[in-house]
């Protein structure tokens, strides 16, 4: 019996450790497919070119990951993302001197939006999906109103666009910003008490409350930090595009959620890996790039993208571990055949 338990434990440990493995396997498969059908996408020039866009998706996805870890979801991303980008235009009025003020304003406003989300969801226990959808609509309304205060298609200050197009070690600083934020989250989760408490809240809020962890505060903090991440991504994309419009954030509604799920997190909350989420964001960006390079029609691109997300959902979170544990439990039961077989035959389990 103890031998069986030991085997089960070892398998479980392996599966837990490898819950984030699928995204790396997916990256490997993508690389192989690209090497066969679109080898040009693996060139260093192309990889460097897509690096900032992958990092933008990663930064947004890391924010979404924090929210999803608490069992929530954030659909206000496009609004917050866009408002931050527009603030960089409106506050700077094209002047490099005001980039700092605008950046602070963008982060501050985003934090406020996150705080509203957090209080309504973490404090008042309203449904996250509905609340963030509603708050997102309000923010988009504000973006439209704010957008009328300066000329349409105004440009960000040249200093910002130059910064995003510069290269550090051959790659855009936006990429390195994404790497830095990922690293910060990894360190926070592994080496700080606050980070570990945050993970516990996501994994088991009831137990966390029992042991004195302030669950509500952690949930509110997740939405605030996430909104700041969206704002940073919005600012960076504004710099890359030079002239952000009121629709700039529209593409960032589902992509980050897909990256989080493919990165191994479960939409029901719990553990997640910043590194896997970062990798998943690059997987999606690379997939997008490869499909375009292969000349796939837009309809086919949507189909492939949708199928990949469904695949990610199927292998996400602890689905694998639960499945394996179920099989092991069935096998450990007395009798020649396991529970599954009985159920399959219509017998009494």
């Amino acid at each position: 019996m103890s031998e069986r338990r030991g085997t089960s434990s070892a398998v479980t440990s392996f599966v837990v450790a490898s819950r984030y493995l699928p995204v790396y396997l997916a990256l490997l498969v993508l690389a192989v497919v690209a090497a066969i059908w679109a080898p040009q996408t693996l060139g260093s020039v192309v990889l460097n070119a897509i690096a900032p866009y992958g990092a933008l998706l990663a930064i947004t996805a890391l924010g979404q990951m924090l929210v999803i870890m608490t069992g929530g979801i954030d659909l206000s991303v496009p609004g917050t993302f866009t408002l931050a980008a527009m603030i960089m235009v409106g506050v700077t009025d094209g002047s490099d001197d005001r980039i700092g003020v605008a950046l602070l304003a963008a982060i501050g406003v985003a934090a406020l939006i996150g705080l509203v989300n957090g209080i309504l969801i973490g404090g008042l226990k309203l449904n996250a999906l509905i609340v963030t959808l509603a708050v997102g609509q309000v923010v988009i309304g504000l973006v439209n109103r704010y957008g009328r205060t300066f000329p349409v298609q105004s440009q960000v200050p040249p200093g910002l666009s130059e910064w995003t197009s510069n290269k550090i070690l051959g790659v855009s600083p936006v990429f390195w910003a994404g790497v830095a934020l990922t690293f910060v989250l990894i360190v926070a989760f592994r080496y700080t008490a606050a980070g570990r408490r945050f993970q516990v809240v996501g994994a088991n809020p009831v137990a966390s409350r029992v042991v004195g962890v302030r669950v509500n505060l952690n949930q509110i903090a997740a939405y605030v930090v996430a909104a700041v991440f969206y704002a940073l991504a919005g600012v960076a994309l504004a710099g890359l595009l030079r002239s952000p419009g009121p629709t700039i954030g529209m593409a960032y509604l589902l992509g980050p959620i897909a990256a989080v799920v493919i990165g191994g997190a479960s939409l029901s909350g719990g553990l997640a890996s910043p590194l896997s989420t970062f990798a998943a964001a690059f997987f999606l960006t690379g997939l997008n790039q490869m499909m375009r390079s292969m000349g796939l029609p837009t309809s086919a691109q949507f189909v492939v993208f949708g199928l990949v997300i469904i695949g990610g959902m199927l292998i996400s979170g602890d689905r694998i571990i639960k499945g394996v544990e179920q099989v092991l439990r069935d096998r450990s039961k007395p009798g020649p055949r396991g529970r599954g077989a009985l159920v399959a035959e219509g017998g009494d389990p």
């Binding site: 070119a49 866009y53 629709t247 790039q289």
Partner: protein, 460 residues
């Protein structure tokens, strides 16, 4: 007996005096002003009336629109040239309406009109102050905040509406690229708002057909501009202009596609070319791409052929964040692309940084474009690359004016052709096409909105 003779002589004298006009002095006292006025005016009036009749007759000979209050002959040739370039006229019925709409595009607006235009452009609803009973609806799948082209096209429609005293109210909606459902909701809102006609651009194409059909069923004439067909006739769910809705204003899309191909066949002969479009399957892109594909020379290679004749290729959604991705995809697979055809010059401007990202020089490149945003042209001038050439037709902002005029003509009882063809001609960009003094660098050079209005629109 003598008194009777004297009386008789007196009466005869009076009659004689009356006949010689002496009595006029007496009559004049009764109508001292009328008679000189009448007399003075009589001859000129008669002359003027004769001339007017002659002019009117001539105009009627040239255009049947005169009886509906339009005067195509009054279109300023300089404005026609500005809006369209040196084009040849399209079919007479279309051309008359195009000219009639340009004839109303006054460049010398008084301050009150400018103020009213700004009010109507910025508000969902406004009273034009004319006291007119008609209500114009404007339904854009984009909107003022989406990009400059949409913004200016809206202003063109507003200014045109203000030139009609019959229009007393303007109601405008913008879907901000939120999709066909939002566009339909906006059209339904306009129906509820009691508009008499709707001018707009249906980004959703055939997707907005149900709402357009509802509007027409309610007696509200619908006129899309900029070749914004509610689906091309052979597309599933499409409506037919002239049958299901009043008319569509725009270029002959197949001729436009042929013109693009001609430019690419010459400028990128023997090389690779790519086509770019807007939302997948939209009527505008599909219309010209079909004909460009068919007209490309045998020695020109299209690197991104559409999947089939009902599909568009190079879909950018006209969405700036997506445009670099499209360019990156094309250039990664084919670093040597010598020509692009696209209906949106501003989109190219968003894609050019990808060349730098990938280390591909902007040279040996020919662009065949429809619109003429200044930012791209000024970027071209700045590059001063002799092997990089741009050809364009016209921004077409003014086509919304043509939509307004077409609707007003229909309401007045005139026959309006189902397809109001706006002629086009390809022109090569020169340094003169970059005007750094334009009020906004993304404004089309071919817009008919006066600069003082543009300055207010983009003053911030």
């Amino acid at each position: 007996m003598r008194p009777r003779v004297i009386a008789l002589i007196a009466v005869m004298a009076l009659v004689l005096a009356a006949c010689t006009g002496d009595v006029a002095g007496t009559t004049t006292s009764a109508a001292p002003e009328e008679e000189p006025t009448t007399t003075a005016a009589a001859e000129p009036t008669t002359t003027a009336a004769t001339e007017e009749t002659t002019t009117s007759a001539a105009a009627e000979e040239e255009s049947p629109l005169a009886e509906f209050g339009e005067d195509p002959a009054a279109a300023d040739p300089a404005l026609v040239e500005k809006a369209l370039g040196p084009v040849e006229a399209s079919d007479q019925a279309s051309w008359d309406i195009v000219l009639a709409s340009i004839a109303r595009a006054s460049q010398d607006l008084d301050q009150a009109t400018i103020d009213k235009a700004m009010e109507c452009w910025g508000a969902q609803e406004c009273d034009t102050g004319s006291g007119g009973e008609l209500v114009m609806g404007y339904a854009d799948g984009g909107g003022n905040q989406v990009n400059v082209w949409r913004s200016v096209s809206h202003m063109e429609a507003v200014l045109q509406a203000l030139s009609y005293p019959e229009i007393g109210r303007i109601v405008s909606t913008a879907a901000d690229f939120a999709g066909a459902e939002t566009e339909m909701a906006n059209i339904r809102f306009l129906i509820q708002a009691g508009v008499d006609f709707i001018v707009g651009y249906p980004d959703g194409g055939a997707g907005v057909a149900p709402a357009v059909a509802e509007a027409e069923a309610a007696g509200i004439r619908y006129v899309p501009f900029s070749a914004g067909w509610v689906g091309l006739p052979d597309q599933e769910g499409a409506l037919i202009p002239g049958e299901d809705y009043l008319a569509v204003v725009g270029e002959d899309l197949c001729a436009l596609g042929d013109s693009f191909a001609e430019v690419l066949n010459t400028g990128a002969a023997g090389g690779n070319v790519a086509l770019l479009g807007g939302t997948p399957g939209n009527a505008l892109s599909l219309g010209w791409q079909r004909c460009t594909v068919g007209s490309l020379g045998a020695d020109t290679t299209l690197v991104n052929p559409p999947a089939d004749e009902n599909s568009t290729t190079g879909d950018t959604n006209w969405f700036p964040p997506a445009i670099p991705d499209v360019f990156r995809g094309l250039l990664t697979a084919n670093p040597e692309i010598n020509g692009y055809a696209y209906e949106y010059a501003d989109g190219i401007w968003y894609g050019l940084p990808v060349f730098e990202e990938l280390g591909i020089p902007v040279e040996n490149l020919t662009l065949a474009l429809r619109t003429d945003e200044q930012n791209l042209f000024c970027d071209w001038a700045q590059r001063a690359e002799p092997t990089y050439n741009i050809f364009y037709t016209a921004g077409g902002n003014f086509q919304s004016r043509t939509g307004v005029t077409a609707a007003m003509l229909a309401i007045a009882g005139a026959d309006v052709p189902a397809e109001i063809v706006v002629p086009h001609v390809m022109r090569q960009v020169t340094e003169a096409d970059c005007n750094p003094d334009r009020p906004n660098e993304a404004v089309s050079g071919t817009s008919l909105v006066p600069d003082d209005v543009l300055s207010l629109m983009f003053a911030g």
